[in-house]
Symmetry: C2
Subunit: 223 residues, 2 copies
């Protein structure tokens, strides 16, 4: 996986950006540093002006890459889920036993992320923290239907449906495969959030535990 990812470019829907940030040093810096700044001050307090100051660049230059901060967050999310899809595919390819395949998939998608050193300008561990704290904000807007039509959430839906396929291999009779998987994926982000901030309503306390909970859940539901 290592060598392959370093040659592969994560593809993000062109409609999300004004200019592809991967095509210039400034673009890469915007992406790289926005991850740190959003993690640091939170998306709600994040502005292009502050990011400009952080990277020693002008606010107006950032607008040449992203229409607004919402689009930047959608970009980061798309990148994340696209990267997640690679991890998923590589972890499950050539595994014949559906149950084992599903376990690997659930593990990939629910465990805490460590930095993938193959992508130079993106720190996946921090990006994962952002996804945990802010991902629902990319979807939960009044513009969701419009943006869904434009394909902003395709990658996310593809990740879900890839796992749905595995669930159906494990148990073709189970009638709620899609809801189960979307519950696991979204729910694991939520459990990670609770582990950090509202500990009294979760049993998860370290990275492995959230995964354990969902592995156990899936096993019980699909047996």
């Amino acid at each position: 996986m290592n060598t392959i990812l370093s040659n592969l470019k994560i593809q993000v829907n062109e409609k999300i950006y004004v200019k592809d940030p991967e095509t210039s040093p400034l673009g890469k810096k915007i992406v790289e540093q926005s991850i740190f700044l959003i993690d640091e001050i939170g998306f709600d307090n994040f502005t292009f002006k502050k990011l400009g100051e952080k990277i020693g660049s002008n606010e107006s230059s950032i607008y040449r890459y992203f229409e607004n901060k919402h689009k930047l967050l959608v970009y980061l999310s798309s990148w994340y889920w696209s990267w997640m899809e690679y991890k998923l595919v590589f972890a499950t390819t050539n595994i014949v036993d559906p149950t084992e395949k599903l376990s690997k998939a659930i593990t990939i998608v629910t465990e805490k992320v460590t930095d993938d050193t193959n992508t130079e300008h993106i720190n996946e561990a921090i990006l994962n923290k952002i996804i945990i704290a802010e991902f629902t904000k990319t979807v939960q807007t009044k513009e969701v239907d419009q943006e869904n039509k434009e394909g902003f959430f395709l990658i996310y839906k593809r990740v879900i449906n890839r796992i749905v396929g595995i669930v159906k291999e494990v148990n073709p009779e189970y009638p709620f495969a899609k809801s189960l998987v979307s519950t696991i994926v979204e729910g694991s982000l939520h459990q990670h959030f609770l582990t950090e901030h509202l500990k009294t309503i979760t049993d998860c306390n370290e990275s492995v535990s959230t995964t354990e909970f969902y592995l156990n859940l899936a096993k019980n539901v699909l047996r």
Copy 2:
């Protein structure tokens, strides 16, 4: 329940408001109409100025009740979960069989809400729509730890832990009761959202189905 609720006042943590909106006609109007306006234009586009125009009142008057729009949303959420707790308690009291009790509880908490005509100025059906679309925004902020300390989310956590108690009656051996319940409660809001906006990653399509999915899930996990 009807007669009792019409006499009971839903209690909301005093730190959430500047002045209790239940104590004046203007306060009630602010709460009543904010629900309609947030539903209509979304929380992100909602401002006190727009609300003032809608209710024929001045922006500055609204600030005398709520510090900012975030606090107003926290107020609406607290009200909602408090009301949900009443429904829960009344639906499960005097039921001896834990399994039946849990089924009632899961049904209450996952089903689509219809207006409760006993509360004059609050339309619960619309409020439920707001909770589905915006609830995570009340929690997912940089101030979550501070606000949690001040007790802003106590009611929500109490609802979760009340159901956790029932889960433990059903199966005292199950090691993830808290995570299961928080997954169900938060997850059902998410499934309702997907049903409306991202239909390709959910199996739920009408009110009953989300409940069915989670009843089935809980049954399989706890047997």
